[in-house]
Assembly symmetry: C2
Homo-oligomer: 227 residues x 2
Amino acid sequence: MHRTRVRVVEDALDANNTIARANRADFDRASVTVVNFMSAPGAGKTALLERVVRDLDSSVRVGVLEGDVEGSLDADRLAGLHVPVTQLNTASGFGGECHLDANMVRSALPELPLGDIDLLVIENVGNLVCPAEFRVGEDARVMVCAVTEGEDKPLKYPLMFRTCDLVLINKIDLLPHLDVDLEKLVANVDAVHPGVARMLVSAKTGEGIDAWRDWLVARTAAAGAPA
Amino acid sequence: MHRTRVRVVEDALDANNTIARANRADFDRASVTVVNFMSAPGAGKTALLERVVRDLDSSVRVGVLEGDVEGSLDADRLAGLHVPVTQLNTASGFGGECHLDANMVRSALPELPLGDIDLLVIENVGNLVCPAEFRVGEDARVMVCAVTEGEDKPLKYPLMFRTCDLVLINKIDLLPHLDVDLEKLVANVDAVHPGVARMLVSAKTGEGIDAWRDWLVARTAAAGAPA
């Protein structure tokens, strides 16, 4: 039983990678840089997006694909920023899929204004396990880790930390009120993914947001530069 | 492709329920009350367990089954409390399973000292989606929702809130430092699961821990009472 199940899942992952490559080719044709944005529930993805999108230079036209099990709360929040937002709900699968996969993103492609944007941010379902397994055709993976989650998350959910290109350590404004050792958290990130880019940020105070915005702009420009 | 996948998963859920019933029968034979303890990563399950176990009356002998993708950090923390702790890692499956299922719990049964405990707390993998799908043979489901996660989690992850018997709203000591509306959070819990028991707690200050301990003792006593 167990072996059968693993084989089925591996087949599904292989199919996922095939579709992710097709997405990638479509994004490349449209010259759109794609960021897969991931975290645990409530780590602050939407708040960080609101912050960074608000002051993006007009040279980087951004669109957002919102993945949620149910509802459109985050899409509603982002709609006020006057950027194109597309909602993708996973509730139709298996009582709510816990991640986006390449085929779900592919099903949203016709709704995405790829010709009018330079950067697509895909806000994944809040989860530190399965989203890390499924490529969706992204150029880069950014994850958010809130200091309120404790120092040990990199050690407990290593694949997510290991496969991302940037770790945003959020809610640092709360550090004075927590029994959390920031140095230990950072050391755990480094232990799991040596050399990964990381930034200390607060969606509440705005600290670190400029650095994250610069990173997004640089990634988008690098993708758009002639080879 | 999509339909095939759903059918496979439904078969897996059916198999899961069969095994959950077998677990349930074993727990009943041993007169052990079982709590499936769930939350998002970093919501404070282990800290709340440490708090509540420390002062449990000797009339309730507790054991813990720790589910983690990797490592034994939480089990190590709980070992200091001198209660039996069994570690279950999900990393062998598919790059780390994002939940415990009935068969994983069943595989741990030979390691559990069922004859020596009255209450087994199963600390699930931190995730608000899939753990809600998989019964493991529990009597009750308790979930932790930290106020730092924001007011909207019940609306975004409704199945978890809808299938639990008690919601612990944790980290209330941080409320003065957050832009989170506790009344709105509580209203969202009620909207998704009308009438569910809920408690405001802080693992840090100890607020609300007595009420949770009383709840656990009452559930254990009710299960042990002659029918």
